[in-house]
Point group: C2
Chain length 343, copies 2
Amino acid sequence: MTVRERTEESSPRANTRKPTMADVARHAGVSLKTVSRVVNQEPHVRASLRQRVQTSISTLGYRRNEAAARLARGATMLTLGLVMENISNEFYSRLAAAVEAASAEHEALVVFGSYEESPDKERMLIESMYTRGVDSLIVVPSAADHAWLAGHASLTTVFVDRVPLGLEAADVVMLDDVRGGRAATEHLLAGGHRRIGLISDDDGVSSVHDRATGYRQALRAAGVRADDALVVRGVFDPWRVSYEVGRLLDLADPPTAFFATNNRAAIGILHALRERPERPAYVGFDDFALAGVFNPGVTVVRYDVTHLARSAVDLLLHPSQEPRRVKVPVELVARGSGELPPS
Amino acid sequence: MTVRERTEESSPRANTRKPTMADVARHAGVSLKTVSRVVNQEPHVRASLRQRVQTSISTLGYRRNEAAARLARGATMLTLGLVMENISNEFYSRLAAAVEAASAEHEALVVFGSYEESPDKERMLIESMYTRGVDSLIVVPSAADHAWLAGHASLTTVFVDRVPLGLEAADVVMLDDVRGGRAATEHLLAGGHRRIGLISDDDGVSSVHDRATGYRQALRAAGVRADDALVVRGVFDPWRVSYEVGRLLDLADPPTAFFATNNRAAIGILHALRERPERPAYVGFDDFALAGVFNPGVTVVRYDVTHLARSAVDLLLHPSQEPRRVKVPVELVARGSGELPPS
């Protein structure tokens, strides 16, 4: 049944109090018990009575409380929980929009919550959703241990973007992060760069870690020595990134290019370059709406966020005993910033 | 009780199956009925039995299904519905983050949904949330008539950003849009501009309409004739805005400045100016994360989105028979684009 059908079926009459089961009983001249039996499709109701009740139901526009009925039947509420770091970050708002769209295809609604950078808040959120009856979760996990989730046998959880620590048997939909990190770095190497800085946040997070691995693989394959002086780790906000980029550009032997492992890092580079005369090349990871509006446009490693979200929802709806890993492909989009020559 | 307290209280034991009411009964050596009575705080249970059951509950870490229990008691689920145009638009993702934070202060979770530009989808979403037991809604309404919502007597709805058509008695939290439009236009007039273009989307939406009213008020107060040739209405996406801006700049007597009534319109101007030699001044409405990274930075009319969200949640939690209107103040932030001189 599609969402549209469901809604039309349950469309309320305007400007009337919502009719109750008691109203239906009164209108049909039968007992409440009989109405309840008809509504719940129980057997042993005479056909003529059933007909009378159904006529009253449609005349009054009665609709039972679906949520209560579902819970009473022990059925799963089609409400997914989406737990993320921060929905105001564009990576997460795009993901949320895509998860919402993918869920709507299955008539599911989405409850969301942000844990900022706090594993405690992440756990509280999940507990809170669970307490309200949400038993299907899509989680972009924090860097903390998630072993405690194994205790929630009735929670179906799919992780997105990052492999959760401490949960061997988890379903995860991830990006092809190693390949993305390699592609970004190879692109800069192909442009003649040899001193390539890495701007990265928490590499306790698997995706960040894997992107950095791709960066090192590409350098090694090209015979370029990885220089730890050009690597910045654990920076989260664009202002901090901006400061670190300035610091690297002030080195005696500065980088001529940067690989930014996420959108915040790329935006931090944009901040830094507003104030600097240098024009280093850079490639970001994660596309963002304004990437093409800057001059030069921002070259990024991107992926289909709809693919990411659909895969997660599919895994949720088809649980398996075997842990599954889905890898979403990535591609490099050249827009100008990644094609600047070494200076 | 704070969220933190609740979560600690209900923290599950890791790596164990979730204990059921039957487990508690077995452990305490009492009947299921007795456990149920204790859990539901019914009278007529001997103090010694009550004590025994409570000891078993804490030993096993039993937690009843709160959602089912709440519904069974007929209590309101503390889950708010948030209905918006599109969460991947930065205005909405900021609003969603703020609504989530304001809701968390009251232990409420947020279900969200986007209706894109479809009033049918908006109605489906609201119906769908209602069917699942959500009876508290925050809605950024589409331009369509919302009289049908009056039929949902049990839905508590607060509208945000826009006054809904066809619902006289609605609670609305809005921005001071007229003042914002006036402030933006006065700022450009003070910079010496006389030919000021207006880039606007659907003015069937009250906020857009009011911002345009502020623009016209400021022109009139300054004795500047409003020129309809400089007004673009009904453009939604940045690409279309970009085209229209180019068209205005090609006029024989082009505008030297623009007022963009929302973030998409301002971003459309940014797109257009990438390709053009002119440097018109412009002021946007709605702040966005990258507004300060462009060169010049984007001058905008901004407001405290936390204030907007908190006001909406407060109205939801304190329903009143009297319809209420809350106006959130706005301010102009000069960053460069609004201070460019007429050419």
